[in-house]
């Protein structure tokens, strides 16, 4: 990696190019024709599903999106308070 970065030290243009391609691919879908933001839809629907089954405060749910050139990841992090977790055990 160090050798690679040594040779690539001054060529920042390819990085700029890649960042722009990923960014604009996303922005065109949300801005272009009025199609709504996929992340926003996912966030709302995921929150709704969770609310159906347990009373988790909104602030306890973190949804993160990381867009890559070939793969994007959606990370859902739900912090469940202990009392709710206890009530979720199958009834005896």
């Amino acid at each position: 990696m160090s050798l690679f970065s040594f040779f690539k030290r001054n060529t920042s243009a390819p990085v700029a190019r890649e960042r722009l391609q990923v960014l604009l691919a996303h922005e065109r879908t949300i801005v272009g024709g009025g199609e709504s933001d996929l992340v926003a839809i996912l966030r709302e629907e995921i929150m709704a599903v969770i609310a159906k089954h347990m009373a988790v405060p909104q602030d306890n749910v973190q949804i993160k999106m990381d867009r890559g050139a070939s793969v994007s990841t959606l990370e859902v992090d739900i912090e469940i308070p202990t009392d709710i977790a206890a009530s979720m055990r199958p009834a005896a």
């Binding site: 060529t11 243009a13 700029a16 190019r17 722009l20 604009l24 691919a25 272009g32």
Partner: protein, 269 residues
């Protein structure tokens, strides 16, 4: 028939006003009747670049409000007879630009000129959307730099959706004008290459304006670069651009589309 051309970019400081002056002067030098119109209400500068700042009496807002006739507000260039300037107002704000007023002014100009060149303000607000509203042709001014390219992409989206032509299901003819380009730095990988910018934005190239001290020199003197320094590299590039704009068939730089642009080709609005 008259053509309305908008010079636009989204981002500020990339060379819209310089390019408006240079393209306008170059078209007029080729014998066409040309009006250059400053849409940057509140921050006018086209008058300064054209060297007409001391001759402004009435402006675009005066004409829209009916305080002055179009003929009274147009300033005839002292060097080229067929070139006129319609300045923006420096004291009023952009709320005075009414959609119907702008349409009236553009229609009035269409009767008198071959080319109407609208110098768009930066941003995507009222001034910018009204400058592109009636365009037949758009020149998207871009620097080989990430924020400029992103903003140009956004502007291209607006040209494809918010213009009169787009609403009629037609297309505004779009051209890329790559300004402040330093070929040596591009070859060294320090700035994006022409090919990169073209692939990302996927609109045809009109011209590459090389980075040059002549551009600032002409601005200092109040002359469009095609007049102030006609043999310089940027002036020659602008003159070439104008030839392409007037040519029957604009030479399209259609390079092989990469996998990326195939996957993410811009959706028709």
């Amino acid at each position: 028939m008259a053509k309305v051309l908008v010079v636009t970019s989204g981002k500020g400081g990339v060379g819209k006003t310089t390019s408006t002056a240079a393209l306008g002067a170059a078209l007029a030098q080729s014998g066409k009747k040309v009006a250059v119109v400053d849409f940057d209400v509140g921050l006018r500068n086209l008058d300064l670049i054209m060297g007409a700042e001391r001759r402004v009496v009435f402006d675009l807002i005066n004409v829209i409000k009916g305080d002055a006739k179009l003929e009274q507000a147009l300033i005839r260039d002292k060097r080229i007879e067929t070139l006129s300037l319609l300045p923006a107002s420096q004291t009023r704000d952009k709320d005075n630009l009414s959609e119907e007023g702008v349409e009236r002014v553009i229609n009035g100009l269409r009767e008198k000129f071959d080319w109407i060149i609208c110098d768009s303000p930066a941003g995507i607000e009222r001034g910018a959307t009204l400058a592109m509203r009636h365009a037949d042709v758009a020149v998207v001014v871009t620097n080989p730099e990430v924020s400029s390219i992103r903003d140009s992409d956004r502007i291209i989206g607006l040209l494809d959706s918010k213009t009169e032509k787009a609403e009629k299901g037609e297309q505004v003819e779009k051209h890329l004008l790559l300004t402040r380009y330093d070929n040596a730095r591009a070859q060294r990988g320090e700035i994006l290459k022409v090919e990169d910018v073209l692939e990302i934005l996927s609109i045809p190239l009109l011209a590459i304006i090389p980075e040059s001290t002549e551009v600032l020199r002409s601005s200092n003197l109040g002359a469009p670069v095609t007049l102030g320094s006609p043999n310089s590299a940027p002036a020659r590039a602008y003159l070439d651009a104008v030839r392409k704009l007037q040519g029957e068939t604009v030479v399209e730089v259609q390079k092989q589309r990469g996998l990326f642009s195939k996957l993410f080709s811009r959706r028709a609005a």
